[in-house]
């Protein structure tokens, strides 16, 4: 059981790695020495490293590593053992046939593919597209909603985090008069992930019985710990209060409740932008007159708030009307 026999038909050449280090002299290692320098960022390099470290790998781990560090050059790594041996003699020839030019083509092909899919449902949502969809959503709101809600542009929070544009963002926010609004929608795109921050009753004082200020963070990726945003958000809020010249103390601002309700979660790694758009839509629709933590929270913001079908339907509608 110490040695796993390579599966001749199905397994890619790489399962040979489950061998002892003495096997470093085998043809597979030759293959590695020859190419591994070209594969600095992919699984081949990881494997070469592990071999040198005399690590043993289970088939499962191998698959995992291959998935995590995909190969951009797509060269012999895809060959099955049998094929590879057959081609062994041709290796020198192939070396010439595969100059970096080919690798470049492979990369640009991949890029082209990514570009062309950029606006499809199943791709990550870029800030420009998000903005377009959001504007469309906003435009269709009733006059009523538009006076009690405000929104901050989706890029502003990430720009705020860059010291060079911090002051600029704060002056933009000033123009939104957020302290006279009931709710402020703040879509955030940060570290490659979308989530939604909502300020509630920011214009109200702490003494107010019914409208106490609070913040909500809706995140479709609970496992990634949404609370990690809290320090930055607190700083952001403090700066907004200060830029506005409000009299609230720092202590009060840091005590504004920061709530993370449990909301429906994304099922793949590209959907979070759509989730945020849908959260916004439904929140604006159902937001209570007075948001109260004691009476009512979390309101409709529950695990079963909406169904995947509902989301799908909403996105299709939004996409088609934003063309």
């Amino acid at each position: 059981m110490s040695k796993r026999k390579p599966n001749k038909n199905k397994g890619p050449a790489i399962i040979d790695l489950d061998l002892d280090s003495s096997d470093l002299d085998s043809p597979i290692s030759e293959l590695f020495r020859y190419e591994v320098s070209k594969h600095r960022s992919c699984w081949r390099h990881v494997f070469a490293y592990l071999i040198v470290q005399k690590k043993k790998l289970a088939l499962k781990d191998i698959e995992l590593i291959k998935k995590r560090y995909p190969c951009l050059l797509e060269f012999p790594c895809r060959f099955h053992r049998g094929e590879r041996l057959k081609r062994k003699g041709k290796r020198e020839e192939m070396k010439e046939l595969r100059p970096p030019k080919d690798a470049k083509n492979a990369v640009s092909r991949k890029k082209e593919k990514l570009d062309s899919q950029a606006f499809e449902c199943k791709e990550k949502l870029g800030s420009e597209a998000f903005d377009r969809y959001f504007q469309n959503l906003w435009k269709n709101l009733s006059e009523d909603k538009r006076t009690s809600f405000a929104y901050l542009d989706c890029m502003w929070f990430s720009l705020y985090l860059q010291p060079s544009s911090r002051d600029k963002v704060l002056t933009w926010i000033k123009k939104k008069h957020i302290f006279s609004k009931k709710y402020v929608i703040v879509p955030i795109v940060c570290w490659g992930h979308w989530n939604l921050l909502i300020f509630c009753h920011f214009g109200e004082s702490e003494q107010s019985e019914t409208h106490k200020p609070c913040m909500l963070l809706l995140d479709s990726l609970e496992n990634a710990d949404p609370r990690r945003y809290e320090p930055d958000i607190r700083k952001f809020v403090l700066d907004i209060y200060e830029a506005e010249g409000r009299s609230e103390t720092k202590d009060f601002i840091y005590r504004i409740p920061f709530l993370v309700p449990k909301v429906p979660q994304q099922r793949n790694d590209v959907e979070c932008g759509n989730f945020v758009l849908y959260y916004i839509n439904l929140f604006i629709e159902g937001a209570p007159e007075n948001f109260s933590i004691e009476g009512g929270y979390p309101y409709f913001m529950k695990k079963n708030w909406f169904t995947p079908e509902g989301l799908e339907c909403f996105c299709q509608q939004l996409y088609s009307s934003s063309e």
Partner: protein, 94 residues
């Protein structure tokens, strides 16, 4: 003579790249599409126009508008000499 004319027909704008804070100055006709300006900026700074977003006062600029049109449609967006456009790198999230 030419100065009087240019004051009327053109507007001096600066574009700031958010990554390094460097400003690039442009003098453009008020009737030129902003896309031209964006392209010129990207060319000068060797950036990919597809990966950039331009905002004015924090609001996304539409490519096919001109400084003049912005003035007509949105009073608050009227572009004047010395106005600053921000060139931001697009971000995405999942």
């Amino acid at each position: 003579m030419s100065r009087g004319r240019s004051d009327e027909d053109t507007v001096k704008l600066k574009v700031q790249y958010n990554k390094d804070g460097v400003q690039t100055f442009f003098r453009v006709k008020r009737s030129i599409k902003l896309q031209k300006l964006m392209e010129a900026f990207c060319k000068k700074r060797s950036l990919d126009p597809k990966s950039m977003q331009f905002t004015f006062d924090g609001v996304g600029l539409e490519k096919n508008k001109t400084p003049e049109e912005l003035l007509l449609n949105f009073v608050q967006l009227g572009m004047e000499d010395g106005d600053e456009i921000d060139a931001l790198e697009l971000v995405d999230g999942a």
